[in-house]
């Protein structure tokens, strides 16, 4: 429960963080809220040589209205998402889901950017950003680039981020329709989702799944069925199509597929109820 030795560098600005990352490359890990990285380090499952702490970059913590999109700073804590009036009004799926991450302590420390770049398919917010069609803004030595969420999550704990890049912002387009739904199924309130579902939209919604494979996934077959005017029940029956969910202590793959079907049905029904 004690991490292996590592060097600690605190970044005072985004530029300093980038130069530290440029200097240490692959050997460095970025520390934001610490709720994914530190447990792994304590169990010595992660043994970075250098930890670059960006936790004090206050200028990366914000929720801003930018017309047809909401811009969220990468270091915005879950608690700030959960309690943001702007998000509650313009992107309620994100603020609602943020209230289900971990427990209050985790939500006061963990950040949106940290959750996304960690690339854990069991995390809630990656699927939410995917369902909402978000864009991730990464800064590196070559400047900024925008990565659609659909291209961001590549495999288990692997994202499109380069080792010398820092995620600075997440842009969420304002939803076109009012409907949304979110289902998180877990054993205990503090647990990761056994399976989760984020639905953005109502008649032709985007549906993203939590913990149904190596990355957050779109339930494309179910989406297509709804787009084609199929019933919610019929569409939901397709929710697990094409997925390869993990089998672990909390759930077998079969049980996860079953949960995905039930939860997609409920989340879409909720979304339509809200529309």
């Amino acid at each position: 429960m004690i991490p292996a030795p590592f060097a600690y560098r605190r970044a005072g600005s985004v530029d300093e963080a980038l130069s530290l990352l440029a200097e240490h490359g692959d050997e460095a890990k970025v520390l934001a809220g610490g709720h994914s990285l530190l447990p792994l380090m304590k169990l010595r499952l992660a043994v970075p040589e250098v930890v670059v702490d960006v936790g004090r970059l206050q200028d990366l913590s914000y929720v801003r209205d930018e017309g047809d999109a909401i811009a969220v700073g990468a270091l915005t804590r879950h608690r700030d998402l959960e309690t943001s009036d702007l998000l509650a009004r313009e992107a309620p799926l994100l603020s609602h889901a943020a209230g289900f991450v971990g427990d209050p302590q985790v939500r006061h420390r963990g950040t949106l950017g940290g959750s996304l770049v960690h690339g854990d398919p069991a995390s809630d917010l990656p699927a939410v950003v995917l369902a909402m069609g978000g864009t991730l803004v990464a800064r590196g030595p070559r400047g900024s680039r925008e990565i659609p969420a659909a291209d961001f999550f590549q495999s288990l704990f692997e994202t499109a981020m380069e080792p010398d890049e820092l995620l600075t912002e997440v842009r969420i387009p304002k939803p076109q329709s009012r409907g949304w739904g979110f289902e998180k199924f877990n054993q205990r309130a503090i647990d990761w989702a056994t399976v989760g579902v984020a639905v953005s939209g109502d008649q032709r919604p985007a549906i993203a799944l939590v913990n149904m494979g190596g990355t957050p996934l779109r339930a494309t077959a179910a989406e297509q069925a709804l787009a084609d005017g199929g019933s919610v029940a019929d569409a939901a029956a397709l929710a697990a199509d094409g997925t390869e969910p993990p089998s672990d202590l909390s759930a077998s793959a079969d049980y996860r597929r079953h949960l995905a079907r039930v939860l997609v049905r409920r989340a879409v029904e909720d979304a339509r109820g809200r529309a």
């Binding site: 429960m1 759930a251 077998s252």
Partner: protein
């Protein structure tokens, strides 16, 4: 007016909630200045021969003071339980064979704690793998033996040697069920910890230990370390929970003391949470086969329980005490004419088992209470009604059970009626019917558990108490019992205050220091108040008697005319309160004569038997299998209540812990003996978010066995709540054809049970 029975807030809390307690890791005693830190190297494999241990690299690592293996330290093995073959003894550090993942094979001593974590990784142990014995069936089959010299993996057998094939001959209905009472991790908030310092000439050693019983730990460690009586002083500072797993001294503690002696340097050991989960003893782990039979009118005629107790790699108390307590309490609150019990304890390549909140009694209650529901379901009778028909009647006490145990007192039907009334039982039945009719995805279930348990089962061992009045009129209470969250400082001060008429804030309660309290048993088996509390009460009565004698001398009056004004805390002659003497004056008077003090060593003629009825209400999402506990109503009658704040605290914690076993907790091993739930992310302890507010109903039936009329309450909540919640889950889905769901009733298990029933 007596203070007993009133809601006195805990005297411990202001300190614990503000500056915090002083646990082993917080100790800054002069004797511990410069203490080095111990880190244990633990086996990553379940069963293997150790072909070599290379400590060279570790010795050269930064901050390393020393590295010791079992061969370096002279420690006698821990003997197994008294009735188990000596071939199953346990070395403090494994030398030839490791028998479970987490067993300590070496200890690394470093200047700083973190250095130990790095150096421990450099100890190279060559393991020559042996087949792992994990399941009960494998252990019984005995193809691989953990202790070849023992010739068997069976550590102990008890109960009937031959099952009576006619036991159920008169029964119209017989139901059998195999039940898994799963393995749990105690996981106290404070992990195991110890610090030790030898005197310069090594003649004396002080050990600060997170323990439930300093005196028992002293005796065991003196033996293991080859010390003379009186050489070892054990001090328990604040202890952050134990649940039974801190009753004895663990092998790591003996190794710590031996290493400290070798180095002539104080040492401290505080394990990590990951170590705690696999190296502290586990609890439960009983595989049961229960059979119940009776008539269709609801009368139970015969009951049998066969127990297969997993003792883990080294049989301790677990191997015989747990199954004996299970067998003793087999028939619960029911007058069943024929009861048969049989038990076997086995060794497996898993963490050793020991006591855990209830220790054998929750397993007994879980079995009989599931059996009652199965029987009720089979004959189509309401489970409350079946229970009522078979209760031991109130006029039958003292009641001797077929297991040969004598229950002291009980009012079982009254407890049941109280709970049913408060819960609105008919309304629950009606609501369940409505939901079933409309096919609601959220089905309602309610489960009952009527329990009786044995507290202070080692009644004859007794407990010590001493009450001393100081020259300033303050009081010191010494108890052999040992607090680790229960509230002794409050309850025992109340008992002394009530007799002496001295306010509680002038009374200090001391425990857990063998220098000050050489004789004591400690805290376990829900014994503290009835034995330790009665000892304090008796000593207080004796002090009052001596004080009366002294006051008579001072006031030049007959003892019969001397009055203790308990409100004022002063003594005077009857009718003449103006001339009074204080406690302090009496204590000064007694100074030349051993002081104003009295000792007591209180034991009971028999154990006591608290009882109660729990009712759990759950909602089961039949589409996902998810269970939500929505209500919990209980009567827990532990005799006379000294302080409702303390008993309610025990009930809250106990009910939560029982619900956790029923719904969530399970220490899981894979087929190779690798623990799968070795941290608190995977091992699902329960949190407030999963629990409703509990509806606790009062009931007090005094016991005649001690002067306070009290019974134990520490374990009752766990014993009662576990089967109530399990029964509620099954009850919610019986209409779908489900008959039984093993614990923990996780969503996946419930979903699978519903699916299986559909397919039948």
């Amino acid at each position: 007016m007596s203070i007993l029975g009133t809601r006195v807030v805990r005297a411990e809390d202001p300190r614990l909630l503000t500056v915090g307690g002083t646990y082993v890791d917080d100790l800054r005693e002069p004797a511990l200045v410069g203490a080095a830190h111990a880190t244990f190297v633990r086996s990553p494999v379940a069963h293997a021969r150790i072909s070599s241990i290379d400590v060279q690299d570790a010795r050269e690592a930064p901050g390393v003071v020393a590295v010791f293996t079992g061969r370096d330290l002279d420690i006698s093995p821990s003997p197994p339980a008294p009735m188990v073959t000596a071939a199953m003894a346990r070395p403090a550090l494994a030398t030839d064979v490791v028998r479970y993942v987490g067993e300590a094979v070496a200890v690394v001593i470093t200047d700083e704690r973190y250095q130990g974590e790095d150096a421990a990784e450099l100890v190279m142990v060559d393991y020559d793998p042996l087949p792992a014995v994990v399941s009960g069936e494998d252990a019984v089959r005995g193809e691989t033996l953990l202790f070849p010299e023992a010739g068997t993996n069976v550590a102990w057998t008890g109960g009937a040697e031959q099952l009576d094939e006619h036991l159920f001959d008169d029964c119209e209905v017989v139901v059998t069920q195999v039940i898994d009472n799963q393995r749990l991790a105690p996981a106290p908030l404070e992990v195991r910890s110890a610090a030790c310092a030898w005197s310069d000439d090594q003649g004396q050693v002080t050990l600060w230990l997170s323990t439930q019983g300093a005196q028992a730990a002293r005796d065991e460690l003196q033996r293991q370390l080859g010390l003379e009586e009186g050489q070892l002083r054990v001090v328990a500072p604040d202890v952050g929970g134990g649940f039974g797993a801190k009753i004895a001294a663990d092998p790591e503690t003996a190794a710590l003391c031996a290493a400290s002696r070798r180095l002539g340097r104080p040492l401290r050991w505080v394990e990590s949470r990951s170590e705690n989960m696999i190296a502290m003893t586990h609890g439960r782990a009983q595989h049961q086969t229960v059979t119940i039979g009776g008539r269709r009118d609801g009368t139970v005629l015969a009951y049998r329980i066969e127990v297969l107790q997993d003792s883990g790699a080294y049989p301790r108390e677990s191997s015989w005490l747990l199954p004996i307590l299970t067998m003793n309490m087999a028939s619960g609150v029911y007058a069943i004419p024929k009861v048969e019990t049989a038990a076997r304890s086995i060794v497996t390549n898993t963490t050793p088992l020991s006591a855990y909140r209830g220790a054998g009694r929750p397993e007994a209650t879980a079995a009989i209470e599931r059996a009652m529901d199965l029987f009720a379901s089979e004959i189509g009778m309401d489970p409350a009604e079946v229970r009522r028909r078979n209760f031991v009647a109130p006029d039958a006490f003292p009641f001797q059970t077929p297991s040969g145990i004598t229950y002291d007192s009980g009012e079982y039907a009254k407890a049941l009626d109280t709970v049913l009334e408060a819960a609105g039982y008919p309304d629950l039945q009606e609501e369940q019917r409505r939901r079933r009719e409309r096919g609601d995805p959220l089905q309602l279930g309610f489960g009952l558990s009527a329990y009786v348990e044995i507290t202070a089962p080692d009644n004859a061992v007794g407990e010590t108490g001493r009450v001393e009045v100081g020259a300033d009129g303050s009081v010191t209470v010494y108890t052999g019992s040992s607090a680790h969250g229960q509230g002794h400082a409050t309850a025992f001060a109340m008992l002394a205050s009530d007799e002496l008429g001295i306010p509680m804030d002038r009374i200090k309660v001391l425990h857990g220091d063998t220098a000050k309290i050489p004789k004591g048993a400690g805290t376990y088996g829900s014994r503290s108040l009835q034995l330790g509390g009665s000892a304090v009460h008796e000593a207080s009565v004796e002090v009052v008697k001596r004080a009366r004698h002294l006051a008579a001398e001072l006031l030049e009056a007959d003892e019969g005319d001397i009055v203790l004004d308990r409100d004022a805390g002063r003594w005077h002659v009857k009718g003449a309160p103006a001339t009074a003497v204080s406690w302090g004056e009496l204590a000064q008077q007694a100074e030349g004569d051993g002081g104003l003090a009295a000792d007591s060593d209180f034991s009971e003629e028999r154990p006591t038997f608290p009882f109660g009825v729990h009712l759990a209400v759950v909602e089961v999402d039949v589409e996902t299998g998810a269970v939500r506990l929505v209500r919990f109503v209980s009567v827990d009658d532990a005799g006379r209540v000294v302080n409702p704040v303390l008993t309610e605290g025990q009930r809250h914690g106990g009910i939560a812990q029982g619900a956790a076993q029923a719904l969530l907790e399970h220490m899981v091993y894979d087929a190779d003996g690798n623990p799968q739930t070795g941290n608190l992310a995977d091992y699902a302890f329960i949190t407030a978010a999963e629990l409703p507010s509990f509806e606790l109903l009062p009931m007090e039936t005094a016991t005649p066995l001690n002067p306070l009329g009290v019974k134990g309450i520490g374990e009752a909540g766990t014993i009662g709540s576990t089967p109530a919640v399990q029964n509620a889950v099954v009850n919610a889905i019986t209409h779908l054809g489900v008959r039984h769901v093993d614990m923990p009733a996780t969503a996946q298990r419930v979903w699978a049970a519903i699916n299986e029933a559909k397919e039948r």
